[in-house]
């Protein structure tokens, strides 16, 4: 193991996984909202809902595209940079990744293509079923990924054969509490991200006194009323995770020096000499940031739920509009710091108690790893910037010029390029 390769590989994984995670958060939440909106549109036949599907759907698709391509790097990165992990734990860890790609992502992508390009080709109920297919397989995807991640944090359902981990109890692996609780937590977080995003974008238009006041008034309400329950779901699953947390992570988070020293001594006795304390600054700062963001969001959500009940306030309270716009990054901050807390806090282990991160890294020269780090992080930075720019651009433009769901059959007539408020 070359220490420089290890550091570069960790940095690459942290940046690419962190980046991917943030795109996915909005994708997962917005998919749910779009599916619900399309259900309302299909059932009620109201043009307003149909236009909402197209506007929020457009933002969803822009964000989704970046999520996919960043996900590609994630899938290949295990074999590229962490072949020690696939060698040692691939039997257990790889099976959930395999199921994710085949059962979830495959269907999700195929259905998304059918949904985007088949807008006026299907019966409206078939088209509705497609977006629900996309949404449900997106959740399935998140579940399988968290099964893989849950195994790394809390390895269960395995036995050791010839120095390698093999599957022993599939059910135990698939119902790992570390995976299920994280799934609930991330699901809530994704909905929260989407709620804040919708509220923020809508607030921008109401602040600008947009002519689309009805459209954005309704969207703002959906965002605000979604955020409150989503926050409580997130917090509940988050709180539950503190119960079975790795003792060292908890000790570091609570800054209990005596406890840390005791755990370190225990680990040395069990696993041999080494440093078993994760980066205290990183773990603690991340944990505190997550909780601070939560507290701030809680006040905003509770106040928001009250304010949104009053019609005049929704349209006229401009200070609140500014606050909602400024609050859009908060769920992202909470998501990323929560993730750093979870992942940095379990170091030096990649599979907790079984395989150290330093033993998992591939036999690759630091030079190659540095080139790959530069290639992927510059591509990701470019993608993040483009994604941000395109989303802001389309969000500001409002529902007037949405390409998604445009009826291609009539597109040769410019007059029809205006939103076709129907299905």
């Amino acid at each position: 193991m070359n220490p420089e390769t290890l550091d570069l590989a960790r940095l690459q994984f942290a940046l690419t996984a962190g980046g991917h995670f943030l795109f996915v958060a909005l994708t997962l939440g917005l998919a749910t909202v779009v599916a619900c909106l399309q259900t309302a549109a299909t059932a009620s036949g109201k043009p307003l809902y149909a236009r909402m599907v197209r506007f929020w759907g457009q933002l969803y698709v822009i964000n989704y595209a970046v999520g996919i391509v960043t996900g590609l790097v994630m899938e290949f990165q295990f074999g590229l940079s962490w072949s020690g992990l696939t060698h040692h734990a691939g039997d257990v860890f790889g099976s959930s990744l395999a199921l994710e790609t085949v059962i979830a992502f495959f269907v999700e992508s195929t259905f998304l293509g059918l949904w985007i390009f088949g807008w006026h080709r299907f019966n409206k109920w078939v088209h509705l079923a497609l977006i629900w297919g996309v949404t449900l397989t997106a959740y399935a995807s998140a579940y399988w990924i968290l099964v893989a991640n849950g195994f790394l944090n809390n390895p269960v359902g395995h036995r050791e054969e010839n120095g390698r981990l093999v599957l022993d109890n599939t059910v135990e692996v698939f119902t790992n509490p570390s995976a299920l609780l994280a799934f609930g937590h991330v699901m809530g977080g994704a909905l929260l991200t989407a709620g804040f995003f919708m509220a923020g974008v809508s607030a921008y238009h109401l602040f600008k006194r947009s002519a689309e006041w009805e459209f954005f008034g309704k969207s703002l309400r959906i965002g605000v009323f979604l955020s409150l329950p989503a926050l409580f779901v997130t917090a509940t699953f988050g709180g539950l995770q503190f119960v079975g947390m790795q003792p060292m992570k908890e000790a570091v988070f609570s800054a209990k020096a005596a406890e840390i020293a005791k755990l370190q001594a225990d680990m040395v006795e069990r696993f041999g000499p080494g440093d078993y304390v994760p980066s205290e600054a990183l773990t603690r700062t991340a944990g505190i940031l997550m909780l601070l963001a939560f507290a701030l969001m809680m006040y905003l959500c509770i106040a928001g739920a009250v304010l949104a009940a009053f019609r005049k306030v929704v349209f006229r309270f401009r200070l609140w509009h500014v606050v909602l716009m400024a609050a859009v990054p908060l769920p992202y901050l909470a998501m990323i710091s929560g993730w750093v807390f979870r992942e940095a806090g379990r170091q030096p282990w990649v599979v907790y108690g079984l395989l150290k991160t330093e033993d998992a890294v591939s036999q690759v020269s630091p030079g190659s790893m540095r080139i790959s780090l530069i290639v992927f992080t510059s591509l990701f930075a470019l993608l993040a910037a483009l994604n941000f720019w395109l989303i802001v651009r389309h969000a500001r433009r409002g529902p007037v010029e949405t390409d998604l769901g445009l009826d291609e059959r009539e597109a040769s007539n410019p007059a029809d390029a205006l939103p076709a408020a129907r299905y």
Binding site: I62, F78, G79, T101, I103, F106, F117, D403, P414
Partner: protein
């Protein structure tokens, strides 16, 4: 079980080469087939509804590899490190070009030509933006196809855990990329109309029926990963997870094929107008 796992891996890999190979090849030839902004948008529309459903075959192949042959997956990918990095980079650049091409300037569904007046924020027609995206699509497609050639050269050479080098590797990479391009050309003949169609038809030749070229290259494309797989120690490296995964995969795979067939059937008509991308 191990044999079934290998058969599934071969099936998914071959499907990727045949299906995604066609849209990668068409992307490689986009500047030749489409001379104007609008024509290139039509060329992209010829595979737009499929490319997402095509590339997931590779995602699934990689998933099968890590699930059923985890040890081999690690050795192969870390051994072929620079090749895989180039492949992924080409793939990302190409996909971003595709996804983002239609998102700036121009009117929706107009190819940007009909309604090129400034957008609400005064952005103009976005012609430069689309040129950048077209370059990303074509360049990314070439990098992707050449990387596949480079990777296959390594697999054919019998030492799958080191990147191939030397003149044979260069020739293999070029030959594979050429096959991708011809495959894409055959696909374009089946999908396009108008001038882009005529340009593709000229290269394919008028002697044979339009689908002959595509059928031939499809068979060759399917053969590539299967031949490459022969040189891999697949039987020896199957993991214990195979017993869990193979039954699940056998149940799911026919459904995946049905969904894909539905997608191909839905968008089977030749392209006459731009699509969302």
């Amino acid at each position: 079980m191990d044999t079934l796992a290998i058969a599934l891996l071969g099936f998914f890999a071959a499907a990727y080469f045949v299906l995604a190979g066609s849209d990668i090849g068409t992307g490689m030839l986009a500047p030749y087939l489409g001379r104007s902004d609008r024509e290139r948008r039509l060329v992209i529309a010829s595979f737009a509804p499929f490319f997402l459903g095509n590339e997931v075959w590779l995602v699934a192949t990689a998933g099968l590899l890590i699930g059923c042959f985890p040890d081999l997956e690690g050795e192969l990918l870390s051994g072929q490190f620079p090749v895989v990095v180039a492949l992924l980079a080409g793939w990302i650049v190409r996909d971003m070009g595709l996804w983002m091409r239609g998102r700036v300037g121009g009117g929706p569904g107009q190819g940007g030509d009909v309604r090129s007046g400034p957008g609400p924020d005064g952005s103009g027609g976005g012609r430069g933006w689309r040129l950048v995206c077209d370059t990303a699509v074509t360049g990314g497609s070439w990098v992707l196809a050449l990387s596949w050639g480079w990777l296959l050269a390594g697999l054919f050479s019998g030492s799958p855990d080191t990147p191939a080098s030397g003149p044979v590797a260069v020739l293999t990479a070029l030959a594979v990329a050429g096959l991708f391009a011809v495959h894409g050309l055959g696909f374009a003949v089946l999908r396009l109309t108008g001038d882009p169609y005529a340009r593709a038809r000229v290269l394919v030749g008028r002697a044979a029926r339009p689908w002959h070229s595509f059928a031939l290259t499809a068979a060759l494309m399917a053969a590539l990963p299967l031949l490459a797989g022969l040189g891999l120690p697949l039987t020896e490296s199957a993991g214990t997870s195979v017993d869990v995964l193979v039954p699940a995969l056998l149940v799911v795979t026919p459904l995946l094929v049905v969904v894909q067939a539905w997608m191909w059937r839905t968008f089977r008509g030749r392209v006459t107008r731009p699509s969302y991308l």
